[in-house]
Each structure stands twice: as C-alpha cells, then as structure tokens.
Homo-oligomer: 261 residues x 6
Amino acid sequence: MSMPSVSLRDVVSALDAELRTSEIPDYPGAVNGLQVANPGTVHRVAVAVDASRAAITEAVVSGADLLIVHHGLFWSGVQPLVGMQYDKYRAMLSNGLAVYSSHLPLDLHAEHGNNVRLAQALGLNPDGGFARFKTVDIGVTGTADEPTDELVHRVQAFSARYGGSVRTSIPAPGRRTHRWAICTGGGASSESLREARDRGVDTLIVGEGPHHTTVDAIEHDLCVVYAGHYATETLGVQSLGAFLETRFGLPWTFLHLPTGS
Amino acid sequence: MSMPSVSLRDVVSALDAELRTSEIPDYPGAVNGLQVANPGTVHRVAVAVDASRAAITEAVVSGADLLIVHHGLFWSGVQPLVGMQYDKYRAMLSNGLAVYSSHLPLDLHAEHGNNVRLAQALGLNPDGGFARFKTVDIGVTGTADEPTDELVHRVQAFSARYGGSVRTSIPAPGRRTHRWAICTGGGASSESLREARDRGVDTLIVGEGPHHTTVDAIEHDLCVVYAGHYATETLGVQSLGAFLETRFGLPWTFLHLPTGS
Amino acid sequence: MSMPSVSLRDVVSALDAELRTSEIPDYPGAVNGLQVANPGTVHRVAVAVDASRAAITEAVVSGADLLIVHHGLFWSGVQPLVGMQYDKYRAMLSNGLAVYSSHLPLDLHAEHGNNVRLAQALGLNPDGGFARFKTVDIGVTGTADEPTDELVHRVQAFSARYGGSVRTSIPAPGRRTHRWAICTGGGASSESLREARDRGVDTLIVGEGPHHTTVDAIEHDLCVVYAGHYATETLGVQSLGAFLETRFGLPWTFLHLPTGS
Amino acid sequence: MSMPSVSLRDVVSALDAELRTSEIPDYPGAVNGLQVANPGTVHRVAVAVDASRAAITEAVVSGADLLIVHHGLFWSGVQPLVGMQYDKYRAMLSNGLAVYSSHLPLDLHAEHGNNVRLAQALGLNPDGGFARFKTVDIGVTGTADEPTDELVHRVQAFSARYGGSVRTSIPAPGRRTHRWAICTGGGASSESLREARDRGVDTLIVGEGPHHTTVDAIEHDLCVVYAGHYATETLGVQSLGAFLETRFGLPWTFLHLPTGS
Amino acid sequence: MSMPSVSLRDVVSALDAELRTSEIPDYPGAVNGLQVANPGTVHRVAVAVDASRAAITEAVVSGADLLIVHHGLFWSGVQPLVGMQYDKYRAMLSNGLAVYSSHLPLDLHAEHGNNVRLAQALGLNPDGGFARFKTVDIGVTGTADEPTDELVHRVQAFSARYGGSVRTSIPAPGRRTHRWAICTGGGASSESLREARDRGVDTLIVGEGPHHTTVDAIEHDLCVVYAGHYATETLGVQSLGAFLETRFGLPWTFLHLPTGS
Amino acid sequence: MSMPSVSLRDVVSALDAELRTSEIPDYPGAVNGLQVANPGTVHRVAVAVDASRAAITEAVVSGADLLIVHHGLFWSGVQPLVGMQYDKYRAMLSNGLAVYSSHLPLDLHAEHGNNVRLAQALGLNPDGGFARFKTVDIGVTGTADEPTDELVHRVQAFSARYGGSVRTSIPAPGRRTHRWAICTGGGASSESLREARDRGVDTLIVGEGPHHTTVDAIEHDLCVVYAGHYATETLGVQSLGAFLETRFGLPWTFLHLPTGS
C-alpha cells in the first residue's frame, strides 16, 4: 500500500477554508494559519495542543511533516533564534516539519470547535454563544435541569481521561444547574463572570482562571468548574486530524503532552 | 480581666506606618489602607486572605470589629450596592466591622511580607528582590545548592498545611537548584519568566499562573512550582495579626477560607 | 388611608424601562440605575439633583426609603468608606434608604428630560437634538424669531425661581434669536460651541462652562446664556417623582438644595 | 520728549529670561513666548488676560505694537484663517501688533505670578506650593488663623474691583481658616480638591470650577471660594507691564475686558 | 476684455462640492478647504503642489488672489507666526492671497485625482481602488499585460517632464506586469507593500517611500517604481485650475516648484 | 596556514561589550544582538547593511558563518516562515549562518558609528551629539567655515563611491556652512529639522527623508543634503568587520548590495 502524498498547499487551503482563518478575529500573537512551511508535501500529520519543543520533537519522531496546534509559535512576539529557540526552529526546518496553528477559529468552530466538542463530550446541547470577542462568540451556552454535582462529576471524568484534575467550589446540596456556559482555555475572568451573571448562567465550565475569579464566583453564587486549560482544548485539534484523514486520507497522531495546567 | 479597647485611628496609624502604605505603589484596585471604618474602637481583630462574604460573615461571628485582608473590596472598581454587595456592605456597617487592606505593601514587607515569610517557611534565605513593579521588588530571590525535588517536597508540605496542592513539572533526576526566586500570588507571567531567565534563576516558586507559563517554563528549562495563590498568601496577614497583638494587646483570629486556587 | 407600599424591585423595573437605562450610553462614573438597595419596599420617594450628604440626610428626615438623583454616588470612582463617606453610607444603609441615579438617560428623555423640560419652561419648541454623545443627542435645538434679550429675561426668571443667577454677554441692541440650542448642566465646551457654529445656532442656553467658552463665544458672535448647572437640572428628577406617583401612588418630595453653581 | 523704541527681539529675550519660558512645562495649546511677530520695534505695550478680538482691537487703538496676554491665540489648535479669525489675524499683521503669551510660567512666577500676586492682594503669605503640574507647583499655600468669613470678604472686595462676583458656600458661624491654598483660573477640580484634603487645606481660593466641585467641597467640609477666572488672573500681566516699563521705559496699558466668568 | 471677478465664497463652495471636502476623511494636519481667506473676490488663480514660501511669493507675483495647493499650511500643527512664518502669513494677508488646500479629497477624486490622472498619463486603466485609508481608497489598481520595463520607461518619461527622476529595482529580463497599483506621494510603506502582496499586485508605482520598502519589495518580488513625490502629485491641482476656468472663466497658472523629492 | 576558528559565544560577547548592546535604547523591531545562532563556531564573517535575501545568499556563497548587519530580520514583527521567508530562514539554518544585528548601538558608536565614520570620511570633526532618541544622541554635530557647495561636493563624491546619488537644494551662491549636523539613515524628519533650527545648524547631512522635509528645509533656510540611506550606513558594519579581524583574526567581506535608496 502506497503512502499518501498531498501538497502542503492543498492541505493549508482546505484548513483555511474549513476554519475561515482569514475571517475570524484573534489576538495579535495567534497568527492563525500556516506558521512554518516545509518542502511542499504532507504524508503524515501530528496534532497537539501546544507548539512546544516536546511537541515538535515527538512530531518529528512520529514521521509527521505537518504539525497542527491550537497554541502556535508566536505568542511571545519576536524572539531571537538562539538557545532553545534555535534548536526548535532548526528541528522544524531541517526535518521538514510544517506547523499550522488555529486559535479562536478552532475554539469557536461549529463542528471542530473545542467548545462545541467539550459540550458534546459532557452530554450538553448548546443553544447559543458565550464569551464575546469582537465580532464572535468563543464559547457556548445552553439550558439543563440536573443536579450540579452530577455535571461536575462528568467534567471530572472527562478531565481525568486527559490526565487532568478538576477544581471547583462544592455545590450546595440539592443545587441544580439550569443554565450553563462553556469557555475552554483561560475562560474564567472578570469579564466572563460578569457575562455569566448578566445572562443568568448558574454553572460555568472553563479551563482555568486566576484566584480572584474563585472568590468572585462564590460572591455571586456562580458555580465555576475549572477543568484544566490543557484538557479542555484537546478535542479541537483531534477533530482537525480526523478532518484531514477524511478529506485526504492522511494518517494522523494526537500527541498527548499535558502540562499540568 | 478586661477586654482591650483601642481606637481605630491608632490601629490604622500603626498599620500605615509599619507597612509604609502611602509610599508603596500598587494597582488602582488595591486601595491600600482603611477601606471601611467602624464607630471608632477595636476590641478584636480577624485576618483573612480575601475580603469575601464568607470572611466578613466569619469575622462578625468571631466578634471582631476589624478585619485585615490582603485582597480588599475594590478590585472590581465601582459596584452598585445591590444584591449580595448590598448584603455584604450592610453586614459590615450594621455590625461595626472595619476593613483594612494591604496588597503590595504586605507582599514585599521585610518582616511581615508574604514573600519573605514563605521563604523562611521553606528554609530559604533571600539575598535580593525579584518581580519588579514600578519602584519596588515584590518577590525575593536567593542562592541554594540542593536537589530541586527536595525543595519541591518542602513546598508541597507547606501547601498541604493550608489545604492546597502543588503543581509543577517533574524535575529531571539529579537536577539541582542553584538560584531560586519566590513571587507569591499570581506570580507566573511572561514577565516574571523572562526576568527569571535573565537573572539566572533555575527554580521559581509562585502561587499560580496561566497555562502558557507552564509551556514556556519547560521551553527554557525553568522549574516553576505552582504552590497555590491562596496558600502562598496566608502568612502575611497572620504576621499583621501578631503585630497588633504585640503592639496593642488585641486578640486576633486567622480565618482560614481556602478557595481551591 | 393606608400608606402605599411598593416593592423596590417593581419601582426599579419601572424606572429602568421608562428611562431605557440599559440602552443609553454614559460616562463611566454615572452608573445609571439602582446604586444602593434597601430592605425591599418603597413607601415614600425623595428626588434631588445631587446625591450629597445633605440630600441623604433630608431624604431620611422626610421619611423616604428611595432617593432619586441626577448625579449619583460614584463620580469620583472607588472611595474608601471612611470619614464623611462612612457617615453617608451608614446613613443610607441603617435607615433603609435606596438610591436610584439617572444621568444622560434623564437628560435626554423625551418626556422627563432636563433639556426638553427646560425648553418647555422657557416657551421654546424643540425640533431636533443637540450635543451628540456617542449614539445619542443630549440636548435639544429649535427655531425662534424674537429679541435675544427677551429670551435671556425668561431664562433669568427661571433661574431665579431655583435660587440661581444667569451670566451672559449682553446681546447687541436689536439682536434676534433665530436658532437656539439647550444643553443643561456643564453644556458649554469647545465641542458644543463648535457644534453650535456648524449648525447655525445663534443662542446657546447651558448650565455652566469654563472661562474660555465665554471668550470663544464672543469671538464667534454666539450668545451663550449660563443659567446655572443646578437650576437647569432640577426639572427631570421632579418629573420622575410625578411619574412614580402616577404609576404607583407613591408620595414624593423635591429636596431643593442649591449649591450656587 | 522722545518716544522709547526698543527692538522686539530684546523685549522677547527679557521676557523669556524673566519667565523662564523654555523651562516651564505647560499644556500643548499654551505656546508660551512670542506668538506673532511685528516689523521689529516696540514703542508701547498693552496687557490683557485673553487674546480676544476685543483685546486686539483695543490694543491697536491704544497704539500698542506689543500685546502681552495670559491666554494666547492657539488654545483651539490649528484654525483656518477665515471669518472672524481672518479679521483677527489681519488686524494684528496689518497694524504691526505682536503678541506675547505666558500661561503657566506667569501663573507660578515668584514675583509676577497670578497666584503670588493674588495672595499679596488678600494679605496672605504663602509658605509653599500647591496644584502640582508635572514638575512645577502652579498655586500657593500658607497658614492663617482668622475667621473664614473675613477672608471671604476680602476676596469679594478684590473681585468687585475687577468687575467680578464671588461664589462660595456660607462658612459655618465661627469657622476659622487655618490652612489656605490659592489656584487662580480653573483651579477647582477633583484633583485640586483631593490635594487640598490630603494636605490639610480648609479654605481654597480659585477662579472657577465645575458644579461637582461645589458638591464635593461641602462633602468634605472644605470651603472653596470661586473668585472668578478673569478676576484672579488680572494681576500677572499687569506685573509684566510694570516690568517692561522698569526695564525699557516702555509705556503700557492694562486692557480691562471682563467676560463675566 | 474685462477681467473676471468671482466671489471667493462662490469659488470655495464650488470646490467643496466638487471635491466633497466635508465627507472625505483625512489626517489632522490636512485641514482641507479654505485655509486663509482674502478680502472677498477672486480674479486669478495659481495652483501648486506645496504651500511653500516660494509658492506664495510666485502666486503674489503672478497676480493671483487664490492659491490652490495639495499640501496646505498646517501639517506641522500650531506654529507661532515668527521669523519666516511671519513673513509668509504677512505676504498672504497683505497681498490678499487666499489659500485653498485639498489633500486626500484631491488624491482620490474620480476626475481630478492625482492617482487617476497619473494612471491616464501612463496609459493605464484603473478597475478598482488601492491603499485604504479609513473609509476610502486613495490609490487605484488595474490589470495589464506588458513587459515591466516598458511601463517603467513610461514612468521615467513622465517624471522627467516634471523635473524628476525615477528609482526602481531593475526588472528581471522578461518580467511582465499583470497587476499594477498606483499610490501617489508617500505611497510606499509596510502597509501598502503588504496590501500589494495580499492583492496580487506585481508592480507598484508610488511617489516615494523609505529605504526599508526597497529592501522589502525585493524580498517579495514586487517591483516598486519610485516616481517622485512631487512629480506624481502635479496633475490634480492642474485639473482643479482647469475646473475653475471652465466653471467661472478664471485664468490660472501652474507654479512648477520641484523640490527634488 | 590554518583557518581561524572562534566560538560564536566569544564573538557575540565581544560585540555586545564593544557596542554596549544591552544599554543602548532602540526601536522594538531592532532586536540588537545575536538574532540567529549557528552550530557554534565562526571561521569567516560577512558584513552588510541589510539582512536581505541577497545578503544571506551572498554570505553563504562567501563561506561566512556569521553575518553582521545594521538592519536585522525583525523590523516587520512576527512573520510566518512561509514563501520567501521560509527560504530565507532555511538558508540560514541549513548553512549554519548566524546573524548579528546592531542598529542604534552601531549608529552612535564613538569609534565604529555610522555617524562618526561618515563625518570622518567628509573631513568633519564632531564636537557634540545630534538627533536625541530617549537617552542617547544618534547623530553628530560640529562647526565649520567653508562654502556649503564644497561640502555638498564631498558628500556627492562619497555617495558615488557607494553607488548612490545626492539630492539637495542648490545652495545660494556664497552660502557658507558654519554649523553642520549628520544623521545617517532616515535622518530627515519634522523632529530633526526642528532640532537643527533650535540648535543653529545650517547644513544637515542625512540618508533620506520624506518630501515634506524638503519643503520645510527651504522654508527655514536650512540646507539638507540627502546622501542616500544605504550609502550613509555602509561604514559602521565595515568597522565591525575590521574590529573582529583585529580581535580574533577572522577574515571578513563587505557585501555591497545597494538598493537605490
């Protein structure tokens, strides 16, 4: 059986179109789309949450010539290619490993999105958007009618599957969740908590958030479930791997590299 | 034995002088100093990390007429006194509970400081400052020569004492800590990691920090130990309680109210 | 005859709907809507221009449990509750006095608005808006054909009724007003004078404005009538008092507390 | 007797040196120094508070070839020379009238300053600065021990001399002034009131200030005396006229053009 | 034959309407429209690229009472009228020379525009806009199919006619231009080069641009032709001269004052 | 004879110390110091003005493993490594070519500086700094007493040697240069022209500058000599090549790659 061979240009075009890369706004450091090219052909794909040194090393070891990530290479702005950065770029360029990154376009995608996928994994049906960023909603929201602690247990089971642990305030006995929202990654902030209150959300599932959000949540009787930044953002890139397999027959691997956060 | 009775004015003056409240720069939401007055006298003191509803309720129950906190009432800016905010302010004003808050002046204090106290609790001797904010160093730094995993174990023991848990990358076998830094609270950020690298720090002990700091730390072979925002900031307010007992004979209680963060 | 008793929630909902509180943009310090809650019921209303200590004291004396103001409590941002601020908040909370504030939503309201009401009191018929702020016009404008000094005299009579005095350049003999504009409060500024010139306004009636506007006005042959910040903003809150009386049968009092400005 | 004739260059150099024009910071619109030149010689000087059309017309009528003002021509930024601006500039250029302006350098001057001169006129001895702007203090402060109403009466007498009127809250019977500050012109603001409180000032004499300062002053038991923007800034330019007479023997006239503010 | 005599007001109204002066956005220093008035009548017009001293002097010598320019008097913001500025303003005001300036409204005009006119002079047919500024396109773009060096030669011939010289990278032998864009004046920048790449432009004709644009252009295989800031902006003002001649019968002169840039 | 072999670390340390890289402020895009590492050793050095594709290609062809430039790789901020950027980075990394960049530290260096070197090449002796940037002077200034056209001729001869041409206003016959300033690169701007006027400079030698500087210069009787951005910045990198030869015995080549600007 022959190995598939697809032009990098075609793969990038397919991803850009599927994710509407040029239309979705994002933070300056995101640089969505192809971040590093390769000599031109893709035979095998690796997907990971972060474009870390470990992900690049494992992608090379796996024989991939394209790495798809959620957090790309450029969040810290311009960095000289010295020390470990030099090693990292040399590993990509000398091994012909291209890198494609998709941040908010992947978070909010209707099919591949981290938020929609997490809702599905938790058995929740979104009926609207949450966590406005400029012109788009990053997260999702929906209605439910179940004991909050049952929902928390499902989140715990999910996080455990990805090596993570859940942190939350203990729901009052008998507390029920009527309106929930999900915002993966760094989803707890003064803004998202205010939006939750304004929109009647009683249970907010996020990746992580700073200390003051835990205090504020209790002040406002909001149950915030911190499910882990890494764990909540593992589903989107896997969905993209499956998408490329379906479209181009490319084999793919998920590089599971939890950071503890 | 008669109950001590000290004027609020004298207690506030003593704290302002000890902490150099008017000299130390801070974020706008900190509002260091007396945040809420009372009818004029202090008989009993409560200290807590956060000025949460729970802290105010417990302070009232404990019979305190002064609550000293590290995170005060005004971080979210102006808030209407409605709903739970109304309850909170009415609890303070109708029970005569004054609130005194000290953020950076307490973090960096040479004797009562959260950072110095945490270093002492870990058996570390600071020889300089770390984590510059405007004109001051918030954290501390020092030299050591010991296996990094031994240091991490001491941090774990400390956090466990305050109901917290430690998160960190597993140090490579044989890795030794030669230069450490401490920045309590939200101490891990792009800035503090850069400062650590620039100053040769190999082990950074913080309260918390967002996901990307865990990725960046590994990229630069920096061991970041996340010891919990709450746990790392419990020592300063206790030191202030002891200070007021010594100075004025006032009894005091530490309100242990962990948030899980 | 039994005293009326209306839930605070209902009163606030009625005011928010009538004034479109959530839709009208404003300055950050305005904080339109309910600023301080009370135990839940309203029996008597007081209205005043400013949420000053005097207004709160008199509202309490009058037996009101709701004070409606045009200038609320938060224009200076976060302030510690110490000294006179402590007294002020304790007076509200211990006497169960709620405070509702409405700034621009009240200035520009088509029925209760300070600007429309002042135009009516001066016998002027507005045919358009003036003094754009973001998406709304705060003031009003209209046509006339009368000697400017006659209009000035009517303004003087109005201000005198509210304990104020009018300041203006003396109109040239025979000068007639063809196009006028009103902007109550601090309505004279470089911007409003430029707008007046651009739109052919020859007579501008305001509350107050800094020195340079008096110089600029003369430079451009514009008659600016400074009728007093306080006096020009007394009508809106009275209209709201009457509105609540009609809607809920609540008795109300206007607290006349001129400041000289 | 021959008419004096001094080169414009020499007059400007003397004023720049005396006022330290190049050293004192100011707002961008101030443009301190020579604002409009003339053909080169000065025989007669006029001084006025504002560079208004009226001042320019009267200066020309008085035979002056140099007009010294406190508020210059450029506060509104770039303006096309059309309409009244065209007339104004043509009047200056065709009549050879130069204009020299000095804003903060004149406000704060130790001898000619509006603030020092006003203090002297009121029989007050400054012992320090007030109203910080960047690196300089614009106003002055000092101690006293006299009934506040006596001081207010002296201010009223001064303002009346310049066609102005004083506005202030009525001091409580028996109230005494122990610490006063003066800031001429638009001296009342949130900032200056806060500075007054922080520095223990009980009586603040200013030119003017917006409505909310009258409310805030009462809240904090501060007596603010509004003596008129125009009146409080008439002394500095007169002192400069006298300075040029002494230095160069130039005759000068004060153009008294009150604006009512 | 009698000399034509048109009111300045009518000429300005005609220009404002033709150029849509009040609608087109521009940089703050542009101040489009009448910049300096005259006693009221226009008999002769001069047009020039820059409102320089030389242009004003020559306009006066030519007997013009209106000077139309592309770069007006106020680009440097407020400037005291001293030294050469004094001479310049005195020359305008004492000789009754009005100045009308039109920057972006003239650059982008469909008939008189510098960009459209330059395209015509080079035999190019625009089919769209280029170089977005807020809500408008300043430049033009179009398709072609010709050797790039032939196009460059036509630009050289054009510039030579206006005393300028062309600077460009030497096109590779056989290189053809398929998509071109024109942005007169300072048209080469990081932004315009990025826009050119994004829109498939292979040949960009500009007035001037800094060094780094020459390096960047080569990096991206973009042929940038620097035709001279002055030369590329000579056509618009001439078109306005012809427009006024047609409309009002006013004689006009083009003042050719190249600066070498 | 054996080829020299120096560790990259030693070369970088020597350059950083000589140029005081960490002390001199600069624009964010400059990123002074080592921008791209290599496997560790330097045998041959290339120097060029710009880190262009051509420079990298020629440096590789010349056998260099270190390229020293004045304008580095990061002026456009973060750029994906695709297309020509990909080729460029692959050329560096696969050929082991390190890149060291020095912008302002090289412009202002007392021995190697572009400005000092250009002054020497023109026979001028600097006696002070010019063109302030934050805490440093980038350019130089000095006195002279010679016909301006003689100085212009010397600049023309210099530029011609580097393939450039000079642009300037033609000095009036008999005009003499008494005070000159040099600012290489993009040295003509509103700021540098104002500084020149304020400091009595009559002749300003720069690399390049936009059109309005040519107009402004004439307005103020300042002779600005535009000697070419490229030409004026060729001397500093050559001086660094010679410095490394002296210090380490490394052979070096100057890559002459004029851009026409």
